[in-house]
Amino acid sequence: MLEIFSYVFLQRALVAGLVIALVAPTIGLFFVVRRYSAIADTLAHISLAGVAVSLFAGTMAIPTALVVTIASVFGMERLREKKTLPPETILTLFLFGGLSVAVVLLGLSRNKNVSLTNYLFGSILTVSSFDLILITLLGALVFVLVQIFWRHFFFVSIDEDAALASGLPVKRLNRLMSILGAVTIAISMNVVGVLLVGAMMVIPVLAAMQFKRGFRETWYISLVAGVLSVIAGLFGSFYLNIASGGSIVLCAIGLFLLASIANSTLWNRQSLT
C-alpha cells in the first residue's frame, strides 16, 4: 500500500498536492463568499493560454502562465471598476478570450501534443523538482499574504461599500485577491489540471460551508477537506491509473456530498430537539 511513497515523482506530486490543498481553498474562500467563484474558471482558461504561449515560445510553463494570467487580472479588474459591463460577462469575455488564444497558439505550435493533456487534466508525472520548488515558494507566498490581509479581505468580501466608506483601499485589495487567485491557479496546473483547478478553490469551501460555522472555522474545515481530497485523489490516481486532477476533484465532491448529508442530518436532529 505504501509503495506509493517509494517513487520520487509521487513524493513530489504529494508535496505539491498538499501545498495546493492548503492554498487553493484559502484564496478560494474569498471568491466563493463574494459569489465570484467563476473567476477561478476564467483564470484557469487564461492560464491555459499561458501554457500555450510557453509551448509556442519554448519557455517554462508555470512562469509563463503566471505572467499571462496576472496581466489579464489587471485587464479584468479595470473593466470591473468601470462598471459598464456586468461582472459575470467580463469573466465570460476573458474565459473565451483565453481559450481562443490557447487554441490558436496550440495550432501554430509544433510540439503541441507533448504535454497539453497533462496540463488540461493534471498528471502527477509532470511535477519536476523545479516545479516543486516554484509551487512551494509561490504557495507559501500566497498563504502568507492572505493571512496578512485576512481582515481586509474579509471586510471587502462581506460588504464592499462599507469597506470603501471606511477608507480601505478596495480597488487594490480586489486586485491583490485576483492576483493571488492567478498565482494559485498557475501553481496548481500540473497536479489538478487547468480544466479542474477552479474546483479545488471552490469545492472544499462549499463542503466546509455546509457546517454553517464562522469564517475562520469554515476556512479550517475547507483546509481539511482540501488535504483529504488531495491525499485520497493521488492514491486513487496511482492505484487506478487515472488522471490525478479528476481523481482529486471527485474526492472533493464526495466530501461535499458527505458534508451535505451530515449537515442536513444535524439540522434535522436539532429541529427535533
Binding site: 461599500d161 462599507a162 466608506a165 471606511s166 477608507g167 469564517f215
Partner: protein, 254 residues
Amino acid sequence: MSLNKTNSIISVSNLTYQTHGADVISDFSFEIPKGAYVGIIGPNGGGKTTLLRLILGLIKPSKGTIQILGRDISDSSVRKCIGYVAQRGGNLDPLFPATVEEVVKSGRTPRSGLLNSYGKEDEDAVQKVMNHLGIQKLAKRPLSRLSGGERQKVLLARAMAGEPKILCLDEPVDGLDPLSRTEFYELLRHIHGEGVTILFVSHDVHTIAKEADSAICLKHDLVCHGAEACHIGKGDMHDLYHADRMDILKHHGE
C-alpha cells in the same frame, strides 16, 4: 438647530452630481456641525441616498467639494471616522459564513494597521459595543440565523466598533417591525448622546420629525432649494407633523 455653523464636521460646497446627463443634485451647499442629529428627507428619486453615498465617498461628485473635519472626502484616511449602516442589511449575504462577532470585529479593521492582528483594545471595543447594543448573546450566531432587526443591529455594532465621529445610515429601519424600529432609534439617540454626529436618510417625514434635530430636505425636481439646503428645525417639523408629507416638501421647496 441651524446647520450653518462654523464648527462643522461635514462641509458640502456647490455639490453637483449628474447621471445620464441629468442633475440628481445641483449646486448644493450646507454644513453640519459636530454633534448634530440630521435627517435627510425627500421623495423617492429625490437624491437622498445619492447625497449620502457622496458624503461617504462611494461615488464622486460631478462638481463641488465635500469635506469631513476640514479634509476632502477623497482622502481615505479621513473616512476612518465615518461609520456606515446600509439599508436592509446592505450587501450582507445571509449565506456568508460568518458569526456576529466576526462581522462586528471587522469594523475595527480600518483602525488597525496593515500588519497588526486584532489586539486586546480591539477585543474590548467589540465586547463593549455588543454589550451596549444588547447583541452579546448573539456573538457566536451565524448571519444566516439572524432576523432583519438583529442584522441591522449587527451592522450598527460594526459601524460603532470603529468608534466613528460620524454615523451615516441609509433608511436604517426599512423592513423592520414597529417595535424593532423604536428600539433601533432609541439606540441611535443613545449613541448621539455620546457625541456622535448622526446623519440618516428616511423617506418618512414623521420619523424625521420625531427623531432628528434638523433636516436636509431634497425636492422632487432634484434641485435642493436653490443653492441652499432646506433647514427645518425640530419645532417646524412638529408644526408640520400632521401635514401630508408631499405638502411639507412642497411647502419648503417653493
